[in-house]
Each structure stands twice: as structure tokens, then as C-alpha cells.
């Protein structure tokens, strides 16, 4: 093979390489314009927070009329041992819930104890503890999770006594 022929071969290889680059660029550009993900995190986590806050497992329910009083937290329900189990069953994502978790903090503003009185509960604590670490590490992508806080001014019903309070629900949802 003479020198010109070998130069032609090199040139053709270069052309082929360039063609492949163009082909993949077009594919990449086409894919960049295709929507493959719809991120529902914000609306979904807000919905979960409201669903927890307005749940009959938290709210005071009038035993005579059956009416649920949204925004009035029944302290007896909130502090009961079955609270987490009841809440998990009322927002039921399956036996193994790998879809949603939340921390629920009820702060009593009128406790008059000289210090902050608050009650802390969880919805799906296992997943919350697992994903909280990832959220704090600010990891992104598949397997990671995001957090959204929502605060509600509420009344706390403690037997016949009503006090002011703040219910803070912090949802952590894994990326989907």
C-alpha cells in the first residue's frame, strides 16, 4: 500500500468517526426534548402533609354527631401508643411502605410550663430514619429523597381544655 492510500484510509476512518458523532448528537438532542419524568414531589408531599393534618386519627371527632373537626387536635389520640399504627393504616401504601414518611411535631403554645412543650410522632418511622440521612447529605437521583415542611396553626383539645398549638408535618418522599 502506498503512502496516499494509507492517508485515504485514515481520512475515511475520520469521516466515519465524524458521522457517528453526528448520529449520536442528533439522538442525544432528540432525547433532551422528550419528557420522560414528571416530578410530583411538591404536590404529593403537600398532599400527604395535609392528609396527615386533616386525618381523623389526629383530629377531634365529635362522638355524638360523628363530625370531624379539622384543625382541632385530639391530644388523647395524638399521644396514644397506637397512633403510628392507626395513621399507617389510614394512609395505606401497602404492608411494606416504601413510598412516604413524615415526622409530626405538635407544639403546645399555651402550656405555661416555662419551657416548650411538644409531642413528636412519626408516620412510617423506618423509612423516615432511612431517608432523612440521604436528604441531609443532599444526595440526588434515584434512591435519594426530598423533604417538605408544612405548618398548621391548630387548637389542642386536652380533655375539656383547648390550647393554641402548631402542628408541623415534615414529609420525606423518595424520588420516583
Amino acid at each position: 500500500m502506498n503512502k496516499k492510500a494509507s492517508m485515504d484510509t485514515i481520512l475515511n476512518l475520520f469521516r466515519l468517526f465524524f458521522l457517528i458523532v453526528v448520529f449520536f448528537s442528533v439522538v442525544f438532542l432528540a432525547r433532551a426534548f422528550i419528557v420522560e419524568k414528571i416530578d410530583l414531589f411538591e404536590i404529593e408531599s403537600k398532599l400527604l402533609n395535609y392528609r396527615i393534618a386533616f386525618s381523623d386519627r389526629i383530629s377531634y371527632v365529635d362522638s355524638d354527631t360523628g363530625r370531624k373537626h379539622i384543625g382541632i387536635i385530639d391530644l388523647e389520640k395524638f399521644t396514644s401508643d397506637d397512633f403510628a399504627k392507626n395513621l399507617l393504616n389510614s394512609i395505606y401504601y401497602g404492608k411494606i411502605n416504601s413510598e412516604a414518611s413524615a415526622k409530626i411535631v405538635l407544639r403546645d403554645l399555651d402550656a405555661n410550663q416555662g419551657y416548650d412543650v411538644f409531642y413528636e410522632k412519626f408516620y412510617n418511622k423506618e423509612l423516615y430514619d432511612e431517608k432523612k440521612v440521604i436528604v441531609e447529605a443532599k444526595l440526588t437521583g434515584a434512591g435519594a429523597a426530598k423533604r417538605l415542611d408544612t405548618g398548621f396553626y391548630v387548637l389542642i383539645k386536652d380533655k375539656d381544655d383547648f390550647r393554641r398549638g402548631i402542628l408541623n408535618v415534615e414529609a420525606i418522599l423518595p424520588n420516583r
Binding site: D8, L19, E36, I38, R51, K68, I70, Y92, Y93, G94
Partner: protein
Amino acid sequence: MKKRGTITLRQTLIHLGMLALVAFVFYLLTSYVNSIRQNSDFDMLFLSRDLALLLNSLYSAPGNVEYIYATDDTALSSLKLEFKQLSSSDDKPVVRVEYEGASRTYPYAKPSPTSEAFLIQVPKSIKFDKKDNQLTVTKNE
């Protein structure tokens, strides 16, 4: 001695090969774009999420709710929709949207562990009826 400006057979074959390659790449690109155009994946993705979100919203609502879900006829009526627990083993409630063998699922939360399953095929619109925390999903035609 070869004359300057004449093309050898080898060079002609190389040029023809290059033309064939360009034509092949062009064919690949057009077929790729066509496959995207006919792709129903986004419809399934959107509907599974939208319906799961709707179910979560309905279950979040404190009272009884009746809701008609309607999109333009072609989007829904070509699909098979299932609202069910994905499998008995993990008991996970999902919305499953199926089209020509391919499917997309998205989870939603029920108000209790009791089982529920609805299968709706090629609907024009869907009726969701929630009474006393019990949901019924039917075709609305």
C-alpha cells in the same frame, strides 16, 4: 502512469459506501423520530401519575365526593386502566395504565388495608364515587 483527475474503482467504491452509510444513518434517524412520535409512553406516564394523585386527593377529602375524570377521547379510550393492588405479596395499591402490552404504574394510598380493585377498559371518561371512605370507579359513558 495514472492521469491527474481520474477516479479509480477503489475510490468510487469508497464514495458509494459512504453514500450508503449516510442513507443508512438517515433511515435510522427518521425511524427513531417516528418511534418517538408514535410513543404512548408519555401518555401512560402522565395518566398513571395524574390518576394516582386524584385518588390521593379524593381519599384526603373529608366528605363524600363524586368526580368525573375526562380527557379528550383519544387519550383515554385507547388505554386499559387498572386500579388495584399490584400483587398480593406486598399488597401495594397502584394505578396501572396499560397500552399494547406496555404499562406504567404509580402508587397511591388507600384509607384502610382492605382490598380494592377496579378494572376499566377503553373508557371515554371515568367516574369516581367516594361514599363513607369507600371508593367506586366505573366507566362514565
